[in-house]
Symmetry: C2
Subunit: 204 residues, 2 copies
């Protein structure tokens, strides 16, 4: 591996530079994912140019474009907040707050869009993105729901995949249904969503 393409950076060597470069590369990758209409059109050259680093700097950390794309997309999905120790309702609201925030964020939204739309074109990449960014969350939420069933807070015959879809899908669709230039989200909307789902839409 040469360092000839590094000369333009001319920053001091060492950890801080390395961390800065890594952040610049991830940011550049996410920018290009957001601007591009397909993953196929994104090149290592374009990422290097946008990040202001040489291609060698990228290849020192990621052996190929796919690895870089997976890592970059995984950073968009922050881990869910720690959930244990509060009530089920409060834990659900904390999760819904995270989903609301992400549904309003064009970058974060693109993970699910890619998972859904690029599966025919890039099946292995999509599988890796699902594993890195989506499955860990499903596992956390599934655990929350299963603890709720065990504690008796949730109905004993709960269909966990349906409940999971209701929690995430309602939030995403609520945000999507808003006009493109919607203002700030309605105050208390996370509580409203959770209370509608827990108590049900029907009258009692």
């Amino acid at each position: 591996m040469t360092t000839t393409d590094e000369t333009q950076a001319a920053r001091p060597a060492g950890r801080p530079r390395s961390a800065r470069a890594e952040k610049a590369i991830i940011d550049a990758t996410l920018d290009l994912i957001g601007e591009s209409t397909s993953l196929g059109e994104i090149s290592i050259e374009a990422i290097a140019s946008r990040a202001g680093v040489g291609k060698t700097t990228i290849y020192r950390r990621w052996s190929n474009k796919e690895d870089l794309l997976v890592d970059a997309l995984a950073t968009l999905k922050a881990p869910l907040p720690p959930l244990a120790g509060r009530s089920l309702r409060e834990d659900m609201i904390a999760c819904v707050e995270v989903f609301l925030h992400e549904a309003c964020d064009a970058r974060a939204r693109c993970v699910m869009n890619i998972a859904m739309n690029e599966v025919e074109r890039h099946p292995r990449l999509v599988q890796r993105i699902r594993q890195a960014a989506i499955e860990p969350r499903r596992a956390v939420l599934t655990g929350l729901l299963q603890r709720g069933i065990a504690s008796g807070d949730l109905r004993a015959d709960l269909d966990v995949p349906v409940a999971l879809a209701a929690l995430i899908g309602t939030v995403v669709w609520y945000v999507r249904g808003l006009e493109p230039d919607h203002g700030p989200l309605q105050e208390g909307i996370a509580e409203q969503v959770v209370d509608h789902l827990l108590v049900g839409l029907a009258s009692r």
Copy 2:
């Protein structure tokens, strides 16, 4: 307007040919939308070539590409089935069946994807797609929910936008959460979704 580019078709003039051509043009447009990664890369030339018609045939019906895209995308969203005269639960299940079917259909899914992802690139087009394909449905569902409140079937303090998002979003997310090569949908899933939403996830 000339018909010079029509000579290769050499079919008899009149309604049947016109209807056939129109269907071929709409189908070609939808094929290209499905295969393309952005609306910008679709050209009238490519649509004409795929449909096996001349560009003049297209311009005789649609004055520009945007009009054609809006019409083509609107055909993907079938009107909801007539809803009056059954129970609220049955009407909801009928709607959910339609959403389930569409969520499994790559072509139908693309309307919402475009509405969400192309808004910065093509704001006016997205606005027209929303009006043609999305708003009529929201209106039907909103009417169903409002009748449910009026009849006392739904809670009096129902948040209609949240309930709307729950009905559509749960279905879409349920299908999206499945593995890409999922088999046929679980039997009775529309009833399961509606019953979870109506009765609520909490135990009683």
